[in-house]
Each structure stands twice: as structure tokens, then as C-alpha cells.
């Protein structure tokens, strides 16, 4: 079972929990990435985030997420994979991404979650724009100066 969604409203883990249910699957793991108020600015200071906005190349993002979910399922013997990414404005304390996976054994879900998140953050065409406390905004492009 693979379920991939880009959503424009708040992500609640409770709404997705049942996606992974299966009586032969003993281990379920979830990761939620939540908008934080503070980010280290790299020079000892702290930036205060007011809100985040996410944009995607939607069809390509869905396609890349589908591919990486399939690869994760194969490499880590998963039964199910759920990846939900929110787009648009995401307020502080709300989830921007939710990843769930299930497997007969916990070692596989523990290996799969970070693998999926690393790949998602490297390859899936989704971008975030930060709005800071002073109303200034900035697109986040990690490898650029």
C-alpha cells in the first residue's frame, strides 16, 4: 500500500493512522515535520519564523514521492508507505509533512523513515518560503549562497 498526497489544509496524524492498519504488520512508525518558531541563523543568533509557505511542482512532486515510496518499500521490506505534504501557508506548530511506514519488524521502519525524509529533502520539488517576525520573506534553497 502506497499513499501519496499533497494537501492544502492541516495534516492530522489521526486522519492517516488507519491507512497503515494490517493484522500482519507489527511495526508502525510516523514522522511529522512541524513548523518551528526558531532557527539558528548559522552565526550564533536565532531567526524567529512567523509562518511558512510551501510551493510545489505538483505533478512532478507526486511522481517523485511515488518513486521514492516504491524504492523505500522495496529496500526496507515495508508493507505500507504514506507520505503527505502540505502546501500553501503553514502556521507555527502545524505539520508540513507526515511520513508513515509499516513493516512486520521495527528495524525496517526505523531505517525507512530517515531514508524517506533524506530523499524527500533532496529530490522532491517542493520549496518553502519563510516569513520572519519582521515580515521579510525568503525562499529556502539549501545549496545556494
Amino acid at each position: 500500500m502506497i499513499q501519496i498526497e499533497l494537501v492544502d489544509s492541516p495534516i492530522h496524524l489521526a486522519d492517516w493512522e488507519s491507512s497503515l492498519h494490517d493484522v500482519d504488520t507489527g511495526a508502525h512508525a510516523w514522522f511529522a515535520g512541524v513548523t518551528r518558531r526558531t532557527t539558528a541563523d548559522g552565526s550564533g543568533g536565532v531567526q524567529i519564523t512567523q509562518t511558512l509557505h510551501y510551493e510545489a511542482h505538483r505533478p512532478m512532486a507526486i511522481d517523485q514521492l511515488q518513486q521514492l515510496a516504491q524504492q523505500a518499500r522495496r529496500q526496507h521490506s515495508l508493507t505500507g508507505v504514506v507520505i503527505v505534504h502540505r502546501l500553501g501557508e503553514v502556521s507555527l506548530g502545524q505539520a508540513s509533512v507526515l511520513v508513515g511506514c509499516s513493516s512486520p519488524h521495527r528495524i525496517d521502519v526505523f531505517a525507512a523513515l530517515p531514508w524517506i525524509m533524506d530523499r524527500l529533502k533532496a529530490d522532491v520539488p517542493i520549496w518553502k518560503r519563510e516569513t520572519f517576525a519582521d515580515d521579510s520573506t525568503q525562499w529556502v534553497h539549501p545549496d545556494a549562497q
Binding site: 515535520g33 510551501y54 510551493e55 510545489a56 511542482h57 505533478p59 512532478m60 512532486a61 511522481d63 517523485q64 505534504h85 508540513s96 509533512v97 525524509m117 524527500l120 529533502k121 533532496a122 529530490d123 522532491v124 520539488p125 517542493i126 520549496w127 518553502k128 518560503r129 525562499w139 529556502v140 534553497h141 539549501p142 545549496d143 545556494a144 549562497q145
Partner: protein
């Protein structure tokens, strides 16, 4: 040949446009496309330099030949989802 390239995030903002149209040779590869985009959007050069080209939703290598029959070209700057 003329190609329409979709733009996103910081590059879209710097270009103030969702897409840009460029001219490249018939035997151009992905690297030539990136160079052509850089020429029409010099204000976004540093970001374009670290971006990847995607053809029909798949990333392509720098030496990948560009076919005008592809449905979609997208310039993908470093991503920050998650």
C-alpha cells in the same frame, strides 16, 4: 528550437514569471538549456547554477540531449520541502 521552461520558488520570484522561453540549438543538451536560461535571467544566475533540469517530470543529467517533442521542461532550484 524554442523551449518553454517552468520556473519555481526563488527563481520564479526573481524572474517575476512562471515560465521563460529560450532558444537553443537543435542538438542542445541539458547544460546548454541551463546556460540559455542564465543568459535571459542573469539576476538569478547563482540559483540557476545550482538548479537541475527536469524533462517530463524526471531529472536529467547535464549531458542529456534535449528533444523538442518533450511535453514539459522545468527548472528545479534546490528543494526545501519536508
Amino acid at each position: 528550437m524554442q523551449l518553454r521552461i517552468l520556473l519555481f520558488a526563488g527563481i520564479r520570484e526573481l524572474a517575476d514569471a512562471d515560465s521563460v522561453t529560450i532558444d537553443v540549438d537543435d542538438n542542445a543538451n541539458a547544460a546548454d538549456v541551463l546556460s540559455a536560461i542564465e543568459r535571459v535571467l542573469p539576476q538569478a544566475a547563482p540559483l540557476i547554477h545550482v538548479s537541475r533540469l527536469a524533462i517530463d517530470g524526471q531529472y536529467v543529467a547535464a549531458d542529456h540531449p534535449v528533444s523538442p517533442t518533450a511535453d514539459e521542461f522545468a527548472l528545479i532550484p534546490p528543494v526545501s520541502g519536508g
